[in-house]
């Protein structure tokens, strides 16, 4: 009996110490990790748009973030969009536009938050809550970046997460204004190395490139070997214009599944399909509402 007690005591103490050490490491490293993730995200955004550090985004281009919230007011739910307003940089530079579940405009309120603070979820949630007043519950859902050049829209960048073969797969998708795919990047996944992890490879993720919205709506995977010329084009082994032609030629094709990883491939395809369809639906509603209500936005 005495043995049991000492064993329990010792194990508990060692677990506590171990927990303490791990917790301390987490606190020390978390900031650096966040910074890394942020830097990676930024790099991915640039590369999806076809820019890099050596070839920076021109000043005429603007990146505008839209934050989507679900607002619960008692039983009733609505969707809220936090949008930058025309006068950038001032104190009340953001609008919170509420739309009900049928796509009808509800109300709009200005949110007092600076552009720097809006990137931090805690600050942003607090500011939105103040603007809406107490009694309404808000939940942040996702964010989208609208890329503009001059007056026209150039692209949309959206992040998304969906279940893969093992855990979640997080991706970043670039769409052009007609919702065709400009590029896809896998941000996070835990698929099996050598099998499902191949979704990171150029020859898989570039298959989505240049697929028109009409095709994306019904995209599936096929279990067939990837044609050689297509593989070379996807891996960037031929020059750019030739690769473009080949990829255009295959743009009405389904996605060629990875050997031994059909489930991961299908997960990415259906994830992309769902993300694109939902995004197109939501953005169409938002654009209609913004037009009807004459709410000025920079995009």
């Amino acid at each position: 009996m005495k043995n049991i007690l000492t064993i329990i005591l010792r194990l508990t103490v060692s677990c506590l110490i171990a927990g303490l050490i791990m917790g301390m490491t987490f606190v020390f490293t978390n900031k650096a990790k966040k910074a890394n993730e942020h830097a990676r995200e930024e790099k991915v955004v640039f590369s999806l748009l076809g820019y890099s550090k050596a070839n920076p985004i021109p000043d005429s281009m603007g990146l505008h973030e839209i934050f989507r919230y679900v607002v619960s007011d008692g039983e009733a739910q609505s969707i809220g969009y936090l949008l930058p307003s025309e006068g950038h940089g001032e104190a009340e530079a953001f609008n919170f536009v509420r739309i009900d579940l049928d796509g009808k405009y509800l109300d709009s309120s200005s949110v007092a938050i600076t552009e720097k603070k809006v990137k931090d979820q805690k600050d942003r949630d607090a500011a939105v809550q103040i603007a809406l007043g107490a009694g309404k519950e808000i939940r942040f859902v996702d964010q989208t970046i609208v890329v503009t050049e001059g007056d026209g829209r150039l692209a949309y960048l959206l992040g998304g997460k969906f279940p893969g073969f093992k855990t979640h797969i997080a991706i970043m998708l670039a769409l052009d204004p007609s919702y065709s795919i400009l590029g896809l990047e896998v941000m996070e996944h835990e698929e099996d190395p050598g099998l499902g992890a191949e979704i990171e490879q150029e020859y898989f993720k570039n298959q989505f490139k240049l697929k028109p919205f009409e095709k994306i709506k019904s995209i599936e995977v096929v279990k067939a070997p990837l044609p050689n010329e297509y593989f070379d084009a996807l891996e960037g082994r031929v020059d750019e214009s030739a690769a473009f032609d080949i990829m255009k030629q295959y743009s009405d094709q389904d996605i060629y599944a990875l050997t031994g990883a059909t489930i991961s491939s299908a997960a990415v395809s259906s994830g992309v399909r769902a993300m694109t369809k939902k995004f197109a639906y939501r953005l169409d509603i938002l654009d209609r509402v913004l037009n009807e209500q004459q709410i000025a936005v920079p995009f």
Partner: protein, 204 residues
């Protein structure tokens, strides 16, 4: 294992006489699974080295407080703690390396070699000896991984450290996991051959 071993002997012991891969044949799973390139072997070997040294020192320092009946859970807990620390630090400070081998770092918890060293050595010997033993074993593993990685990368993809040296791919087979066993087997034979040859020379 005698107490009067010098630190250098302890160190050399881990690398040569009791090399974890070629002599003890422990932790073969990661050895054949990850050692496809020199860099992979080097990264995982380094992570194992740190975990082994930290765990050995911790267990050696606490050996008088560990109840004999729960020593294995305590070892596992210790190893898991250090692996988590290494895992988080790698993710924070070496994101590029971590992206490549992140999932392999987590399985260091289950490496037989580390538990075995704690059970055989660290729980009986003083801290400084345990440190040298841990360092030796870790280095032994590191060297083993790098050597296997070297052979497999050279023969499998015709490159060293990612640089194409041969210009062609001699045998794709060497990249596959089963070839890991093949290389380990050849290495074992080589090490044994050296040992036997050395012993005979000494005799004659």
């Amino acid at each position: 294992m005698a107490n009067e071993n010098s630190s250098f002997q302890l160190l050399a012991n881990g690398i040569l006489k009791e090399n974890p891969i070629f002599k003890l044949a422990l932790s073969m799973c990661p050895a054949v699974g990850i050692s496809t390139t020199v860099i992979n072997g080097l990264l995982l070997g380094t992570a194992v080295l740190f975990v082994q040294v930290f765990s050995s020192v911790t267990i050696s320092a606490l050996k008088n407080y560990i109840h004999p009946r729960i020593r294995i859970p305590t070892y596992t807990l210790t190893i898991a703690t250090w692996v988590t620390v290494i895992d988080l630090s790698l993710a924070a400070f070496f994101p590029l390396a971590y992206a490549k081998m992140g999932i392999f770092v987590k399985i260091i918890v289950a490496f037989a070699i580390i538990t075995m060293r704690l059970e055989m050595f660290a729980c009986k010997e003083p801290i400084s000896d345990s440190f040298w033993d841990g360092l030796g074993m870790g280095l032994g593993f590191l060297v083993g991984m790098v050597v296997i990685g070297f052979v497999r990368e050279l023969l499998g993809s015709g490159a060293i450290l990612g640089y194409d040296v041969l210009g062609f791919k001699p045998l794709l087979f060497f990249i596959l996991p089963s070839a890991g066993f093949f290389v380990v087997g050849l290495m074992m034979a080589f090490f044994n051959w050296i040992e036997v040859a050395y012993a005979q020379r000494k005799k004659g």
